[in-house]
C-alpha cells in the first residue's frame, strides 16, 4: 500500500471530526467513527436524561417533515383555553396563522399568551391541560405551511 494513498486519506480526515476509519478495498467494507462534540462524551446519566428529554419519538419524527416545535417561553402552568369553560385555542389538526394564540402559560397569577411563531397545522400537543411546564419545554408541533 503506497504512502501516497495513506497520505491522501489522511488529508481528507484532517478537516473532519473522524476519529477512526477502516477501509478494506476491492469495493468492500468501510467503517467510520466520528468524535462528536464534547457534550456527547457525557456521563450515562446525562445520556439518559438526554434521551428522556430530547429524543422523544415525536421530536425525532419531526425532523423528517417540515415540523417546528413551539416551546414554553417560561416556567408556569399550561392552559389550552382562556378559561375553564371556554373551548381550547387549538386542537390537533387546527390550522394556525403566525401570531395566533396557541395556549396560555400562567406564571405568578398572570396569564401569558403563547403565540405561534409559524403558520401551519398543529400536529401534536405535547402537554396536558393544567400541567406545569418548564422553560424551553416543547408544547406543540406545527407542520409549517400545511393546511
Amino acid at each position: 500500500m503506497e504512502l501516497k494513498y495513506i497520505r491522501s486519506i489522511y488529508r481528507f480526515l484532517r478537516d473532519t471530526d473522524i476519529e477512526e476509519i477502516e477501509i478494506e478495498g476491492k469495493e468492500g467494507r468501510i467503517r467510520i467513527k466520528r468524535a462528536l462534540s464534547q457534550g456527547q462524551v457525557v456521563s450515562a446519566v446525562e445520556e439518559k436524561k438526554a434521551v428522556e428529554r430530547e429524543e422523544e419519538p415525536e421530536q425525532r419524527e419531526s425532523r423528517g417533515k417540515n415540523i417546528k416545535v413551539i416551546t414554553s417561553p417560561m416556567v408556569g402552568t399550561f392552559y389550552r383555553a382562556p378559561s375553564p369553560e371556554a373551548p381550547p385555542f387549538v386542537e390537533i389538526g387546527s390550522v394556525v396563522k403566525q401570531g395566533q394564540v396557541l395556549c396560555i402559560i400562567e406564571a405568578m397569577k398572570i396569564m401569558n399568551e403563547v403565540e405561534s411563531e409559524y403558520g401551519g397545522r398543529v400536529v401534536s400537543i405535547l402537554v396536558e391541560n393544567g400541567q406545569p411546564v418548564e422553560y424551553g419545554e416543547p408544547l406543540f408541533h406545527i407542520e409549517v405551511g400545511a393546511g
Binding site: 464534547q38 457534550g39 462524551v41 457525557v42 456521563s43 446519566v45 446525562e46 436524561k49 417560561m74 416556567v75 408556569g76 402552568t77 406564571a107 405568578m108 406545569p132 411546564v133 418548564e134 422553560y135 424551553g136 419545554e137
Partner: protein, 444 residues
C-alpha cells in the same frame, strides 16, 4: 417541617443545600438554566426545573421565573444560597407576599442591612465601634471635602449599596478627593443603580474578621465565633479560617456580644454574618452585615459541629434554637481554600471540560463541590469550582493537611489557582499568622 424546598441557586451551594434536605427528609427541587442541564445540582436534587437560558439575568436572577417555578412545583419554601438573589430584599418581599417561606431574614431587615449607611447607623445605635465616618450619604464634593478634613486623610469613599469593592476609592490627599468622589458615585450608580456614597477613615493593614450568628424567630440569638478572612484578592476571599490567629477567648466573646446586640436590635432572624475590620491593636470596627449563608460557612461548621444549613431550615420552620451560647464549643482549627477555575498568574477565568479529576479525601478533609470528571464548566457563572476544607487539632496541623489535600487535587482540562493557594500556605508570614487584607497584593 417543610415537605418541599426549591433551591434558587446552582453550583456547590445548591449541592450543599440538597444534601441538608436529603438528610432531613425534605424533598429538594433544583432550578437550572439551559447551560446547567448536566450540572450536579440538577442531577442530585429530587426534582429539577429549567427556568431560563444560560444568562443569569434571565434564569437565576429572574424573580418571576423562580416564583412561578415554586408555584408549579408546589414548594413551601425557597433557599436562596449565596450570590444571585440571596440578598435581594425585593425577592424576599415577593416571596412573603406569595406566602412562600424565604429561608433567611425578613425582607425589611434585608433592606435595612443592604444599605451600608443604615447598617452603620444601626451599629452605632447599639454602641458597636465603627470607624469615624461621614454619618450620612454625601451629596457633593464640597460636602465630601469638609467631612474628610474632619475625619483626617487617608479616607475611603464607599457606596451605600456597595459590595465586592465596587464604588470604593481610597483617597490620600484633599487634592484627589473631588475626582475620586465623582468616580465613586458614577461607579456606584452603574453597579447598583444607586449613586449614594459615604466616607470613612481608612484603616491601615486591617484584618477582615467576621462573626457568625444564628437567630431564631423567637428572639434567641447566639454567635458561633469568628472567621478570619484576610486572604483576599480584589475583595474576593480565597482562604478563610477559624479561629483567627489573633482572636482569643476574651476578644471572641466581645465581638460575639457586639454581633448579637446588633442582631437583636434589628430583629434579625436566620443565620447571618457581622463583618468587622480589625486594626493592628486588635480594635474591631463594624463594617457590614451579610444577611445570608456565606461561602465560608463550613469553617464554622467544622469547629463547632453545627450544621448551619440545617439550622437555617429549622429556624425557617419556626423552631427554637436548641443550642445555648454556653453549649457552643470550639474544637481544633479549620481552614477553607477556594479553588477557582482560573489562571494562577493572570487570574483569567478558565472554563472548559474536566478531563481528569481526583479530589482530595481521607481524614479531616471535606470537599464541597459541584464538579465531576467529564463535566464542562460553563463560562456564564462564577469560577469557584470547589471548596477544600480541612480540620485538625492545631493551626499548623491544618496547614499541613491543606497542603497535602491540595497536592492530591488532580484536575486536567481547566487551570486552577491551586499553585497560588499552595504558595500562600507555605509562606512564612501566613504560617506565622501575620496577615491582613493587603497580604495578597504584596505577595509575589
Amino acid at each position: 417541617m417543610f415537605n418541599k424546598i426549591l433551591i434558587a441557586n446552582r453550583g456547590e451551594i445548591a449541592v450543599r443545600i440538597i444534601r441538608a434536605c436529603k438528610e432531613m427528609g425534605i424533598k429538594s427541587v433544583a432550578v437550572y438554566s439551559e447551560a446547567d442541564r448536566y450540572a450536579l445540582h440538577t442531577r442530585l436534587a429530587d426534582g429539577a426545573i429549567c427556568i431560563g437560558p444560560a444568562k443569569a439575568t434571565e434564569s437565576y436572577l429572574n424573580i418571576s421565573s423562580l416564583i412561578s417555578a415554586i408555584e408549579v412545583i408546589d414548594a413551601e419554601a425557597v433557599h436562596p444560597g449565596y450570590g444571585f438573589l440571596a440578598e435581594s430584599h425585593a425577592f424576599a418581599e415577593v416571596c412573603e407576599k406569595c406566602g412562600i417561606k424565604f429561608i433567611g431574614p425578613t425582607s425589611e431587615v434585608m433592606r435595612l442591612m443592604g444599605n451600608k449607611i443604615q447598617a452603620k447607623k444601626e451599629a452605632e445605635k447599639v454602641r458597636i465601634p465603627v470607624l469615624p465616618w461621614s454619618n450620612r450619604g454625601l451629596s457633593d464634593e464640597k460636602d465630601a471635602i469638609e467631612v474628610s478634613k474632619k475625619i483626617g486623610f487617608p479616607v475611603l469613599i464607599k457606596a451605600a449599596s456597595g459590595g465586592g469593592g465596587r464604588g470604593m476609592k481610597l483617597v490620600h490627599t484633599q487634592a484627589s478627593l473631588a475626582n475620586a468622589f465623582n468616580m465613586a458615585k458614577m461607579e456606584s450608580l452603574s453597579a447598583f443603580g444607586d449613586g449614594e456614597v459615604f466616607i470613612e477613615r481608612y484603616c491601615e493593614l486591617p484584618r477582615h474578621i467576621e462573626i457568625q450568628i444564628v437567630a431564631d424567630e423567637h428572639g434567641n440569638v447566639i454567635h458561633l465565633g469568628e472567621r478570619e478572612c484576610s486572604i483576599q484578592r480584589r475583595h474576593q476571599k480565597i482562604i478563610e479560617e477559624s479561629p483567627s490567629p489573633v482572636v482569643d477567648e476574651r476578644l471572641r466573646d466581645r465581638m460575639g456580644e457586639a454581633a448579637i446586640k446588633l442582631a437583636k436590635a434589628i430583629g434579625y432572624t436566620n443565620v447571618g454574618t457581622v463583618e468587622f475590620l480589625m486594626d493592628r491593636e486588635r480594635n474591631f470596627y463594624f463594617m457590614e452585615m451579610n444577611t445570608r449563608i456565606q461561602v465560608e460557612h463550613p469553617v464554622t461548621e467544622m469547629v463547632t459541629g453545627i450544621d448551619l444549613v440545617k439550622e437555617q431550615i429549622r429556624i425557617a420552620t419556626g423552631e427554637r434554637l436548641n443550642i445555648r451560647q454556653k453549649d457552643v464549643r470550639f474544637k481544633g482549627h479549620c481552614i477553607e481554600c477556594r479553588v477557582n477555575a482560573e489562571d494562577p498568574k493572570t487570574f483569567v477565568p478558565s472554563p472548559g471540560r474536566i478531563k481528569e479529576l481526583c479530589l482530595p479525601g481521607g481524614p479531616g478533609v471535606r470537599v464541597d463541590t459541584a464538579i465531576y470528571c467529564n463535566y464542562t464548566i460553563p463560562s456564564y457563572y462564577d469560577n469557584l469550582i470547589a471548596k477544600v476544607i480541612v480540620h485538625a487539632d492545631t493551626r499548623i496541623d491544618a496547614i499541613h493537611r491543606m497542603i497535602r489535600a491540595l497536592d492530591e487535587f488532580h484536575i486536567e482540562g481547566v487551570k486552577t489557582n491551586i499553585p497560588l493557594l499552595v504558595r500562600i500556605l507555605k509562606d512564612h508570614d501566613f504560617i506565622a499568622g501575620n496577615i491582613d487584607i493587603d497580604f495578597l497584593s504584596r505577595f509575589s
